[in-house]
């Protein structure tokens, strides 16, 4: 059977076909779980948050306005659930550190990164993302992985558009600096 768009399944759920919601869960569960993981940094908490987000989305589905986009609406629910969870658990969040100096040109970094195999590249980015504050991790996921626009990210997170732009700019610099540092250390180890 050919997959339909989200609105088709939303209409079916509203019409009383609860099972159609499973299609929406299957389609969006990984990103909802990723957002929850970005914020809670814990698989158990993230699973609960993701389940709660889907349950809430189901209960509020009748009030969902289609023009806002189901994905954005769902991610906003997940984001808010995760933020409430860390506030409730009083989980300490990381502050954005000051930028580290930049020395290496883009081409050089790119070359060094290309010299790493897929698994090493994955380890490098995991290490860098772990150091970022929760909200910035969500911004990275939505902007670089999900290709969401600044406007959509603003809708999901509730941050102003200019705030999203500033944070993205800072996080871009931060990731790049961390990359340089890791690559420099690796070069020193090899030599």
């Amino acid at each position: 059977m050919e997959p339909r768009d989200d609105n088709h399944y939303i209409n079916e759920v509203i019409a009383g076909n609860t099972a159609s919601f499973a299609m929406l869960v299957d389609r969006h569960k990984d990103l909802v779980f990723t957002i929850a993981m970005n914020i809670t940094r814990n698989r158990e908490d993230a699973e609960e948050v993701a389940q709660d987000a889907f349950l809430k989305a189901y209960q509020k589905l009748a009030g969902f306005r289609k023009e806002s986009g189901f994905k954005t609406w769902l991610y906003r629910i997940a984001y808010n659930e995760a933020i409430s969870r860390i506030r409730k658990n009083k989980i300490k969040t990381l502050d954005l550190e000051e930028e580290i100096m930049e020395i290496m040109p883009e081409e050089e970094v790119e070359e060094d990164i290309a010299g790493l195999d897929g698994q090493e590249q994955k380890q490098v980015i995991i290490k860098i993302l772990d150091k970022l504050p929760e909200i910035d991790r969500v911004l990275v996921t939505l902007f670089y992985l999900e290709n969401q626009s600044v406007v959509e990210i603003s809708e999901v997170t509730g941050l102003g558009e200019s705030n999203v732009k500033v944070r993205l700019h800072r996080v871009r610099k931060r990731i790049y600096s961390e990359l340089q540092e890791i690559l420099n250390k690796r070069a020193l180890r090899i030599s």
Binding site: A19, D26, K29, A50, Q59, Y144, L145
Partner: protein, 141 residues
């Protein structure tokens, strides 16, 4: 600008290399069983706050019109019941003075105050219980 684009490209490549987190096994089944166990609760109030404000303002405006504007039909009712109408002349004394005079002229019985307070209390209690109930329900799950 060019540097930014290059950095974006590089970061995007790395982030995609990492990919999304994978949900635990049976995630969809768990969500669906929670949905089946929990009937849909539409906790949206029947009337939104805006609608309530509009109704209150409408009723207040109606009362002001009935008690102040000369409408022959309503005048007949007032004369038959013996209720005194508020004179419109007070509005010629300036806006704030007239509002003050109007409020000063109002006589509210203690029963009215009790009814209004009770109604407000019921609305607040209903909201409080609804919130508490929905929180408890989520915790039980």
């Amino acid at each position: 600008m060019e540097n930014q684009a290059k950095r974006d490209e590089l970061i995007r490549k790395l982030v995609r290399q990492k990919g999304m987190e994978k949900t635990p096994d049976n995630f969809t089944d768990k969500v669906m069983s929670r949905i089946k166990a929990d009937p849909v609760i539409d906790d949206t109030p029947l009337l939104s706050t805006g609608a309530w404000i509009a109704i209150i303002l409408g009723v207040a405006a109606m009362i002001v019109v009935i008690f102040t504007v000369d409408i022959p039909y309503i005048d007949q009712i007032f004369s038959s019941t013996g209720i005194q109408k508020v004179s419109m002349n007070i509005f010629s004394q300036g806006f704030f003075n007239s509002i003050y005079a109007f409020i000063k002229g109002l006589q509210i019985s203690s029963i009215t105050v009790v009814i209004v307070a009770a109604a407000a209390g019921l609305v607040l209690l209903e909201r409080l219980l609804r919130r508490r109930f929905s929180e408890t329900r989520l915790l039980i799950i």
